[in-house]
Symmetry: C2
Subunit: 505 residues, 2 copies
């Protein structure tokens, strides 16, 4: 085959695989939103059949041959053309997938599925001993996977990170995290000694589901979520499902006593959805039409949730509407409400943590899983290591493993290397935001007048529309003119929280 023919073949092949994956996407979405109880066993088998189909295509030697034929026609200087980008990503994925022996891939798939199910029960029953053998199994297999993927020399944990953050390494992450950790500790010390404290009780009141739903729809529609190209349903754990162009769905859940949890969760998912909606539809099904990493995805969700959603400007605009939907807010002034919304306090559960302490939850998980994969820590010693880290970072201890080492789903399902993406996402978000602010003018002032589209437009142009054209570190350089740096996030947090806690004017 000529290189141009080979490239065309690869495009078609990639899109067909993507249609199958997109069908799997709907199977997953339905599993979490609609599936009747007795249909679960069938759904597992259905997903296994589709997974196997997709895996066979991804590792097909015929694909590898034609990929090599297409690469033969590539100009060595060309790194940024459509063709160069797609070839780069196809190669990366093909090498990655084929380097894992099929027997190992099958064992990991089974152990992940079994581990996740065991975790669900063990967490409910606070039964670490029951969960431990599953975790041991999955850690053992993931070490083997990391070994198989590793190109020698570097630490093998890098190979797992690379699955979520192409090009990233533990050593580079460590540099960023150390800086962030130190700054966070200093900020927390100041906050602890601050002259005033928020009153979280002002956030609680009767929140009928219909009122929560109406307010959320109002907010996210205004932020840019398009209900003609998506929908919002309910699920135990909120998520975003990008089925295809024109079909990006989010889910939410409601706390009957507080609308803010459901609201921020929905804004978070809206951030993911806006990224997916902004990917170039003409490249759908190829790397160019796909998101580049988990951290970049989280940079979008966490920017809308935190940098936008927890800002004074946002609430200047939306607080009157919130009071219409939840009349008991009438007794609370905007300042008092905002301060409560931005309370900083050490807590046990990552997903409920505030903007400042959240990163510490991630950093301690990064350190623990790095040692686990490296063999410096064994699963049986994880609870002690966990509690030690909680003590060191937060000066609090979980009362049981369910609110401690067993709180997250990630490790149970083999997702090692995933956690760093959350805090990296916060850093990318702050850096993008700072640049957008520099180019667009006073963003909070715009939010206060209901203007969110300039920020969205900037993200569309500088992040979303790029798909996988640039690796994350290159993307942030292209979008902001600077290397990824923790300073943007640190500066943002210091300015915001020192002001909130009355430490600066």
């Amino acid at each position: 085959m000529k290189p141009t023919e080979a490239y065309q073949w690869l495009l078609d092949y990639s899109k067909t695989t993507a249609y199958y994956q997109s069908a799997m996407g709907l199977l997953h979405w339905d599993q979490r939103t609609c599936l009747p109880k007795e249909g679960r066993a069938h759904r597992s088998e259905q997903l296994a059949a589709m997974t196997s189909l997709v895996h066979r295509r991804a590792t097909d030697p015929g694909f590898g041959e034609i990929l090599a034929e297409a690469e033969a026609g590539k100009n060595a200087d060309d790194n940024l053309s459509d063709e160069a980008v797609n070839l780069r990503e196809w190669r990366r994925n093909y090498d990655r997938t084929t380097r894992i022996p099929e027997s190992l891939a099958v064992l990991i798939a089974r152990a992940s599925s079994a581990g996740e199910l065991a975790w669900q029960t063990a967490r409910q029953q606070n039964d670490w001993e029951d969960f431990l053998p599953y975790l041991e199994r999955i850690v053992d297999l993931k070490r083997q996977e990391a070994q198989a993927l590793s190109k020698g020399g570097k630490e093998i944990y890098d190979a797992l990170i690379d699955d979520f953050e192409p090009g990233e390494t533990a050593a580079e992450i460590e540099k960023l995290f150390t800086k962030l950790e130190n700054a966070t500790f200093k900020l927390l010390e100041k906050i602890e000694a601050a002259p005033r404290k928020p009153d979280p009780a002002v956030l609680r009141g009767a929140c009928p589901p219909a009122a929560q739903e109406a307010f959320i729809i109002k907010v996210i529609t205004h932020l840019g979520y398009n209900f003609d190209a998506g929908r919002m349903d309910f699920s135990a754990h909120p998520f975003t499902s990008a089925i295809g162009p024109g079909d990006v769905r989010i889910t939410t859940r409601f706390d009957p006593d507080s609308f803010v949890k459901g609201l921020f969760s929905s804004i978070h998912e809206t951030g993911h959805a806006l990224y997916s909606h902004g990917l170039p539809p003409k490249h759908w099904g190829t790397p160019l039409g796909s998101s580049i990493s988990m951290a970049i995805h989280e940079s979008q969700s966490r920017m809308w949730e935190n940098l936008v959603g927890r800002s004074r400007g946002f609430w200047k605009h939306f607080y009157p509407a919130a009071r219409t939907h939840f009349p008991w807010l009438g007794k609370t002034g905007l300042d008092e409400f905002l301060f409560a919304l931005n309370e900083v306090t050490p807590s046990l559960i990552r997903t409920e943590a505030d903007e400042v302490t959240y990163n510490l939850h991630i950093i301690m998980r990064f350190k623990l899983e790095r040692m686990l994969i490296d063999g410096q820590l064994e699963p049986q010693d994880l609870p002690d290591a966990w509690n030690g880290a909680m003590e060191r970072y937060f000066h609090i201890l979980p009362q049981n493993h369910s609110e401690g080492v067993m709180q997250d789903i990630h490790w149970s399902s083999g997702a090692f290397g995933y956690f760093p993406s959350y805090a990296l996402g916060n850093m990318y978000a702050a850096q993008f935001y700072a640049k957008a602010q520099k180019e667009l003018g006073d963003l909070p002032e715009m939010f206060a007048t209901g203007e969110f589209s300039p920020l969205l437009g900037w993200l569309r142009g500088n992040v979303h529309s790029r798909g996988s054209r640039l690796l994350p570190r290159d993307l942030v350089r292209a979008a902001t003119g600077a290397d990824l740096d923790a300073d943007y996030l640190i500066a943002f947090l210091e300015a915001k929280y020192e002001k909130a806690y009355g430490l600066r004017g």
Copy 2:
């Protein structure tokens, strides 16, 4: 491969294909219940990719070879073992699918999709001229398909019927339909001259959606629909979607002024769902675990809708609950309500027709499409032929083509040979019901005390659990001890409606 190995290979292959088809089932379900507007184009492409995958598997020469190897081990006398049945159906489908040239299959898929879309618009706008070229195209292609499938000698329309009713022929259907038509005309004459008439106005009143939903859930749960293995959603055209064992979903829609439409539509879909739920789960993904024909499927839906749902026994049990949900029924006695529910009157629209005239709608469509496929009638002459038939059968004429020749979706999407299944289904239903009544005792008396499970149990044992083991005509013989005969339906209708209209005691 040894025949036993070949058979095992075919079982696995069949199940894998079924998982893909089951994923398509969910894509279709979602398209009609959940899909956001802007996701439609993507969904079409996604379905096309999956269709092509399934079609390639169904026509794969490798499958044909292994099928022949498995058949080589078959005992010639064995027609009813699990193995014999699966081999019979795999052979039937493989021969059928491979006899259609792939180029023709692709043209038909495109023309069907285009035809259905054109029909939707043309029907809304009552624009026959706009629709005609699409219909001409699809009729031309279906004639070619029928020709390709035909084994010579017989009329080619039979090949299309066979897709819905394996083993059935137009000549055999004609015999049944002629008998039914003559009896129906006689019954209608009597009804027209009857001393009393029902008052359909008693069926109308305010029917809030929540009340309709609650009543429907009460009724269909009582009939045996299991919400742990299904769900009920809303769609423009109600349908049943059997995704897999433990996951059979129905949809409904509500008329704000009359709960009976939504109710009967839901009972109809429940009948389909009970059949799907009753298929043997261990054979799922193979012919033995599949329904055998459209007419048998309709026999189940139409039995629950009409023979059960429109019976006095049913309403003796459910009328008090109906009055709780729709208090305005308080002013109408059970007899008056029942009579209105069973009003017989000529009408333009098939889907709204009563139990007696419904079959005439089917018979006229059967005659028209038979002539269309045979070439005795051309699409351009169809409106005149339609109106002529309406005049002859019902003595009424549609005011426009939307309530005439363009009312049904079937022809627009290439579903020729489908219509007869509805009236055949009514005949199968009446014959099953008569036999069940003979074996179980007074069914309406059971219904009156809320006992519907004996009938369901009989259907499970005699129809559902058989899957595709027997062809429809063999199935009715095995279940009732007699050949399919229109007399059971005729006797049922005469007894019920002569009594309702005061023509017999």
